[in-house]
Symmetry: C2
Subunit: 336 residues, 2 copies
């Protein structure tokens, strides 16, 4: 295993320390009293619904990179590929609660769900209303290692962006949760691995993938996908990912979408743009209009080579929220 | 070789097509008459000094990702790791010339220099004044494969950002060239490879690196660095890169710097933040203030695993230009 790390057991705290040092204009790291979470550097705005997400580390910039104006109020990073425990989530909740309630955005993994649910109960016991929105955008498999139902993957970024914009604009708790649910209902993803990832404290690849095969439908922790196929062209691979998404959404000509082509961590941008180009062509053939796009490493799986495609069926309300200003370490646009 | 590509000989045009489709709000791709370059989507502003950069592809987002308001007016991408020819550079020059002269920002490689110089002569023959600024920030080696003198690497991003801000603010030709030269004089970089890169049309790794070694001082095309050492910690590697930079700049306590920790393409963000954390600690020990930071994949070497560290000795004028709005596919901040 070759990684730019010091102690394999200290990857998360050391990476977090560097992250907040690099972005001290936007985020703060809490580590006292022994609770780890990242919050916005600016003050809590009284009466604003707070958005919190979190989950195992190893998917950077998810979720810490999306803390800031117009997106998350806090992110709770667990150990690599391991859910954060309820005490950390509760700590973040108490830190950013602004008396308007809190929305948890949780990727659909059993450990994350359980711990966010426990935190929600504890928060509600101290009179902080919490609504939990579960993201399950991965069409690859039903039930999987660590998951009942579909997994939550890169569509989470889109949920966080759009719900975050609603909260920033002053929407109430029910309204923020409703728009987040609407995004969840309309966003689908699927990924491919060209290589495994290697968990630092494990030190060997999570799975073996022959040099002439790729795994279609891979999970962002290296969980099994749908099937392995011989290595083939980007265009064919894009089809294997995109067709199930389009079918599951029931997309038809005339609709508008947001597209995210997401790198898994070890794949260069130039290749992601080739995949994106194929997605665009296919959408044009189908008469589906790509209204907005993101291409880059937004929800990674450590050093895995590969990518995922995410498609959101959109409407003008979602697009307006998408276009709203966002100022976070990993997404940044619009006037300050 | 596993890459998300179709035809290894068509990687650059296919990637460019996806790139401009994803960022049609910011950039345009010219391919007629058989000349390939990327320009800003908005109209040329009469009387604005035009900034053009370019070079071999494979370093994305460099240079095409830096075309836009406040940075480059055009980028000329050559084939992978191969300089663009003078006709393409001249075409870009004629396209973005706004009657105030043009500044070429060129990384110090023999082929790039030669072709940009030829283009400059042709442009000047048609009464377009051109100033060429050569970036040679890599302290690793003097002379190298493809280079006389030091190589130009990730410091180029900083030159393009600061000179671009000056041009956007209305500075004249000599002034824009002068600030670019000032940045070049004060920026230094050095990189490390944990793995080789693989050029698509070659299909095998550019060099062999044993599983227990890293190469200190690697070039962004896989050119030899200073030496190979046994794989070690991120902190030690950061020291091997940072110490020669600090020595070469003659940095002392009390000075201010901009720091870029740049990924080579195959290294996840979490590892780059660990390296950044070490750079910050070392700077604090030396009493050098890190005024601004960038951490991410800004000047890559295809799928290489590794990173580089870039340090700019800065002053208030440079910081003001750094902070000025920039709206490009790969760098985006400040009000529109």
């Amino acid at each position: 295993m070759k990684k730019l790390i010091n102690d394999p057991t200290q990857v998360v705290p050391e990476s977090l320390a560097g992250f907040v040092a690099a972005h001290s204009d936007l985020v703060r790291l809490n580590t006292e009293p022994d609770l780890v979470y990242v919050t916005r550097a600016d003050n809590v705005k009284p009466g604003k619904v707070a958005l919190i997400s979190g989950g195992g580390s190893g998917h950077e910039p998810l979720h810490t990179g999306y803390v800031g104006k117009g997106m998350l109020d806090a992110a709770v990073p667990g150990p690599v590929f391991t859910a954060p425990t309820p005490d950390h989530i509760l700590g973040a909740t108490q830190a950013v609660n602004a008396e308007a309630g809190v929305v948890y955005i949780v990727k659909n993994y059993t450990g994350d769900l359980l711990n966010f649910e426990t935190a929600a109960e504890l928060a509600q016991a101290s009179d902080i209303p919490v609504q939990t929105v579960v993201v399950n955008d991965d069409v690859a498999v039903e039930d999987s290692l660590y998951t009942a139902g579909r997994r939550g993957v890169a569509g989470t970024v889109i949920v966080e962006k759009i719900a975050g914009a609603a909260a920033e604009a002053g929407a109430g708790l029910a309204e923020v949760a409703a728009i987040a649910h609407e995004v969840v209902d309309n966003v689908r993803s699927m990924g491919v691995a060209l290589s495994s990832c290697t968990v630092p404290h494990v030190g060997i690849p999570t799975f073996e993938l022959p040099h002439d095969q790729v795994e279609i439908g891979i999970g962002i922790h290296g969980e099994p996908g749908r099937h392995r196929i011989p290595m083939t062209t980007a265009d064919e691979i894009a089809g294997y990912l995109l067709n199930p998404i389009i079918a599951d959404l029931g997309l038809v000509g005339g609709e508008g979408v947001v597209v995210l082509v997401n790198g898994m961590g070890g794949t260069p941008l130039s290749e992601l743009y080739i995949v994106y180009g194929r997605v665009r062509k296919r959408m044009e053939e189908l008469g589906i209009e790509v209204k907005r796009s993101l291409v880059g490493n937004y929800t990674t799986a450590l050093d895995m080579q590969g990518c995922s495609i995410t498609v959101l069926r959109t409407n003008q309300h979602m697009l307006d929220l998408w276009d709203a200003p966002v100022h976070t370490p990993a997404l940044n646009w619009g006037n300050t």
